[in-house]
Symmetry: C2
DNA sequence: TTTGCAATTATGCAAATGTATAATTACTGG
DNA sequence: CCAGTAATTATACATTTGCATAATTGCAAA
């Protein structure tokens, strides 16, 4: 039998572009940037390598498109949390922060994916623009939630507080994604909400929706389950009680 | 003329290993992981490619060694800040936080370097161990500074607060390194110190050493220079005053 | 000086990678 | 049913990459 040529279906441009981008992201998430070769991407997308160059001028262009898609996906995922969130400003903010510090946002693969593109934003203007849009988009959303709190605040204060709160969230997301076992299950959301509240001077923990099985404790709440010691440092909690961060009102010396 | 063989000097093992590691780090910082090829590394180190395999069993082993070196370098740099720091606990903590949010710690190349290795810590146990040691090392140092503050705090509270403060610093470091022009020169250190103070319930800004040329303002300080608008969002500061974060005592509703 | 050893270089190779180009085929409008 | 065309595949190529191995040479000790 002579060479049997592969059967195929003609698909729309958008379909194929999406499939190629999805394949590239999946590969990078699994095996880092090196894993996303032209052939591997094409294979994952159920296509031959040549087609990539039919829809993208170069592999770099595909990479750019993939990064933009990733950023949009992340911000969209966060925005959707607000759809089911309550109406009170404090509760909305608390829910938003907590959701940003749980799976699937906190995820090792997501971190790897994000890191894979980071080094390019310094040199590639397209990448840089996409990153800036994603970062500022998230921060603006956060700032809007902060501004909705029932208290006076001028523009400069809002900006600085949004930057600070965004940083706490980013930092916790980072650490939770990189070292999942270093934290108890609901430790990060709790610390995040507590810290954002401290920065804003508002008690947000009181407005945190109660975890599904546990009893709802309206005030001076016991954190979800901080009983589990840090497996990475078994001795760190020798003197530990049950309250991450101080539950006492912050002493202003 | 027949092939003129390259002249060389015999160096100690440690010297050559260090040179190769330094070369690898420099290349990754400049051009991302892809730039650190065996030939490029050898070239940068003033050596021929074969020598790499003489000192490292594989390129991956060199990569691991480079990451460990990077982590040690970062934590060592931070620790050295404390050598010249004042004695008062608040001032020491403030200086430590501020130093973590300025150059050379905040640096685009450092971020790229760090990101380049991140995706490997998920799969490679060696990488993971190095990362964990670096992260926990920094956090422990921070926790020690927090514990030195003149106020009571139990172990669990300390741990949670250290995690939170570490997250703010990490997040601000991240954003400042990724988008340097999005922040005014001393905006990040100021916001960082302010936020850490808020999380701990201590006014750290008052203990921040005054910037060299500006007048020393012991209380209710005007932040260094937040007059410069955010170039990335020219309209964001339309209503801005001069004070990032609220200078008013935090209202506890 | 000579000798021996290990540090270093030189050469080569097989696999992988991005890209270019030609050949084929599925679908659409007539 | 039939062409035309764009989507898709197939093939080829020049580079690059990591690695292996042989050939050299700097250097220290005898």
């Amino acid at each position: 039998m002579t060479g049997e040529r592969r059967k195929f279906r003609r698909e729309g441009e958008e379909t194929r572009r999406d499939a190629l981008i999805a394949a590239a992201l999946a590969l990078v998430a699994e095996g880092g940037p090196q894993a996303a070769t032209v052939r591997a991407i094409a294979d994952r997308a159920g296509v031959t390598p040549g087609l990539i160059r039919h829809y993208f001028q170069s592999k770099e262009e595909l990479t750019r498109a993939a990064y933009s898609t990733l950023m949009n996906r992340m911000t969209d995922a966060n925005m959707s949390v607000l759809d089911t969130a309550p109406k009170a400003a404090e509760a909305r903010l608390a829910a938003f922060v907590a959701a940003s510090l749980r799976a699937p946002v906190v995820d090792a693969e997501a971190l790897g994916l994000w890191a894979a593109f980071i080094y390019r934003i310094r040199t590639d203007p397209h990448m840089r623009a996409a990153h800036e849009a994603g970062y500022l988009g998230y921060r603006d959303r956060l700032q809007a939630l902060i501004a909705a709190l029932p208290r006076p605040a001028d523009g400069a204060t809002l900006r600085a507080q949004a930057i600070a709160c965004n940083a706490v969230i980013d930092g916790l997301w980072l650490e939770g994604s990189a070292l999942p076992e270093a934290f108890a299950p609901d430790e990060l959301p709790y610390i995040g909400v507590r810290s954002v509240g401290a920065i804003l001077g508002v008690d947000l923990v009181a407005h945190l929706p109660a975890p599904p099985p546990a009893a709802s404790v309206p005030r001076d709440p016991t954190p979800p389950d901080s009983a589990k010691p840090d497996p990475a440092r078994p001795d760190a909690d020798a003197t530990a009680g049950n309250h991450p961060l101080s539950d006492q009102p912050e002493a202003q010396p």
